[in-house]
């Protein structure tokens, strides 16, 4: 008995060993070539993806003359930081770029907090199947994913609410994203009912149950949604185009959009194009915070989509 006990593990180890060796032998020709080719292709794809951005960074540090002559490559030619100083100071030395940056940060912070709060407030009741109103409310919410009032109707609404040219004109139209609400609703549905009922027995009202039980249990989805909403507010320029006429209230994304586009090309004789180094510099400055943060939070993007999608 004891011999048998001893011999069994030895046999297993040997089997595994042989198995691995066999695999290695099998992989050595085709698989190795595949791995090498695959790696090369992946490196090329990664380089092709990175190249435009690196080129942009290089251009932003290059001199205007070098850019015009087409001499820029991945290494800046005529290295200088004058363009950055110029972009930050602005044509009139009024540091308008910093103001746009400040606006974006303000809109992103306020917008994200409000969006999260109201999205939770909507998603949580929607997750309760026993609520009869959900029969009406759910289709009503989902309907807005596919049909909208149209541009002019929305515009008139903002005008009549006197929200044009205010921060709220920028934030409110995208306060609640139906898609994110549905993701959150699915997540809330997975919270065990027993915990909520226990809270109610202990004397919590409905909001108390949400705030003290559901919310702490939903940290993953709330973190993901924070990210989603923050990126949405940071990148949005279209609402600014529609609702923010006063330039002092523009977010940086819209300012960037106007300078990149410049004039209407040669067909508009009045138009002049911004220098390429100014465009590149503004682009780098605008995208920088996202680039810095993105590697650390990138996994949440993928996870976030899965979080609400799987229902046990």
């Amino acid at each position: 008995m004891s011999n048998l006990e001893k011999s069994t593990p030895e046999f297993k180890v040997e089997e595994i060993h042989i198995h691995n060796r066999k695999n290695k032998i099998k992989e050595s020709t085709g698989y190795k070539v595949f791995t090498v080719v695959n790696t090369i292709i992946m490196i090329l794809i990664a380089f092709a993806t990175l190249y435009p951005f690196l080129y942009l960074v290089s251009q932003s540090f290059s001199s205007k003359e070098a850019i015009i002559a087409g001499h820029t490559s991945l290494i800046p030619k005529g290295f200088n930081i004058d363009t950055y100083i110029y972009v930050i100071k602005g044509q009139h030395n009024n540091y308008e770029f910093l103001r746009y940056y400040g606006n974006t940060i303000l809109y992103t912070v306020i917008g994200t907090v409000l969006s999260l709060f109201f999205s939770c407030m909507l998603a949580y009741p929607l997750s309760k199947n026993k609520l009869k109103i959900n029969r009406f409310l759910s289709p009503f919410v989902i309907f807005t994913m596919y049909f909208g009032g149209g541009l002019i109707a929305n515009y008139v609404l903002i005008l009549k609410l006197e929200l044009k040219d205010t921060m709220w004109g920028f934030i409110l139209p995208m306060l609640i994203s139906t898609y994110y609400v549905i993701l959150m609703r699915s997540f809330f549905m997975n919270i065990p009912k027993d915990l909520e009922e226990a809270g109610e027995i202990d004397g919590l009202n409905k909001f108390g149950v949400f705030w003290h039980i559901a919310r702490p249990l939903s940290t993953p989805i709330i973190a993901t949604m924070t990210l989603f909403y923050a990126v949405m507010y940071w990148n949005n320029w279209f609402n600014a185009k529609l609702y923010l006429q006063d330039k002092k209230k523009w977010p940086v994304a819209y300012y960037l959009q106007t300078i990149i586009r410049g004039g209407g090309g040669a067909s508009d004789p009045d138009a002049e194009q911004m220098s390429a180094n100014i465009k590149s510099c503004a682009m780098v400055l605008t995208v920088l915070p996202i680039i810095c943060v993105y590697p650390f939070i990138q996994r949440y993007y993928v996870q976030g989509m899965m979080l609400g999608g799987v229902k046990e």
């Binding site: 185009k241 410049g262 002049e272």
Partner: protein, 581 residues
Amino acid sequence: MKTTTLKKLSCIGLAVSMLSGFVACNKNTEEETSSEATTIPDQIETTEDPDANLPYTYGLGKTFHADQPVTYTMFFSDASWYPMVDTWKTEGIFKEIENRTNVTLDIKSYDSGDYMDNITLDINAGNAAYIIPKIYDDSAFVDGGAIVPISDYVDKMPYYTDFYNTYNLADDIKTITRANGKYYKLPGMKEANLINYSFVIRKDIWDAAGVDVVELQKDWDWAEFLDALQKVKKYMVAQGMCSESDYIWSDLWCGNESGQGSGGNLLGVMGSTYEVNAGWNIGNGMRYDQASDKYIFSPTTDNFKQFVTTANSFVAAGILDPETFTQDDATATAKYYSGKTAIMSINQGQWANYEENMTAQLGAGNFENYVITIPVGTTNNSTVAPERLENGVMISQKALDELGEDGFIQMLRFVDWLFYSHEAYDLTKWGIEGVHYDVVDGQKVLKDGFCCGGLGYGNDAEGSMTDIRLQWGYAGGNFWYGGTVAEMTDNLIPPVADYVNRDAEYRDTPPLAPGIAPTADQNEEINLIATPLISNVNSWTLKFITGQEDINAKWDEYVKSCEDLNAQGLVDIYAQLYKGK
């Protein structure tokens, strides 16, 4: 049972709404066709009444001035390369307008790139400003009723009337007149059209190659021009400036970026000399033919075949780079600035820019630019557009509703002064005389310490001068355009003025095409036919020119493809609209 009743009721409801819609459409059509078209007069008689007791001063030669301060809202196209700042209102252009007229302009500005989108939204949402400048195409607005048919009121505008009558603009105005005989925008009007787009050459290289461009250009045709370019290339190859396989003409404004897949500026210019629509000027392909007195589809004519053959000869001879039709503008300019090519497109506004960049690249004195007079094709006509009109100003119906008839006419007379008086033209373009500019020997010159990118006056190396456009909003694109030849040329620097004058001297003025006024339905039909048709024409044209298809062998197939896409349909619609003289 209930469901059946509900269904029946819904069906009846739908039927009624469809029927009422149909009746409404019918009524509309009847109104449209029964309304008698107004005609555009050769001369407008003004209804100026100097003795009338009006709360404002106005009239030809006078500055409009309101007795009481008034405020009018105005849209403003704000260019990102000289963005509006507060000083424009507190001490610049808007303040000076207010000082002179007692009118405060309440500016609703939008970024120039989004200007049309935003004002369209505002106009459709009932939020239009009273004065709507910088309108190129007004067709999106005329049917909505939000814009005043301004032709009903132009007799109240002395400056407009005076310019219209002095320079006989009736035929030009007919080109923007709608089917009901009215027009909806006050266009910028020009005494004559001046050439804008041409080609700049490296005259130092051309001279060294033994090509006397100054003498040749007077009446050269495209074949002689090609000979000249071949001589230049031969010289450049001999000097080691390029190799035999290089192209010495690699143009901008023709690629996907600015050329919009049509061949852009180069083909537009070359096509004009063959009396065909091409490149930027392709439009819907329809063109008025003087000889037959009717509108023809120009891309299938013999002239068009000659034009593509000519264009192809430049590519075939190794002169014109076929990448011209795909490359970015920056690639083309980099080649010219660095001396790899010896010719490139230019417009009036680009001269200073080219000079500045080439000085940085090649060093001052190491190059000489020169703008040539465009070679002749089948006609000696200039390549300028025949219509002497520019973008214009619309007035919103809201102004009429809110100000009442008298207040509205008062506003129109202010608009008349602002956009058509010589005084306002000088003010909006040059600033205040004696403060920002002086008139020396009849020429306007900026005073010391001032510069202006828009007028061709660059800043010094230290950037110590004040730009009157950036600081105070003068020389902006919302106000000054059109005008007399003297006004339009008062800021042209000598080399630009030279090529403008040469074009006027060596080339003839193109004849004006008779105006046609399609209805909204006809416009839609024209667009439906033209969109795929022109896409087909552009695609074949580029294939012919770059040598991908043989012109002689494939010409019939190309013409057949246009016929299959209903080119005749366009001709028929135009034949309905224009019956001949």
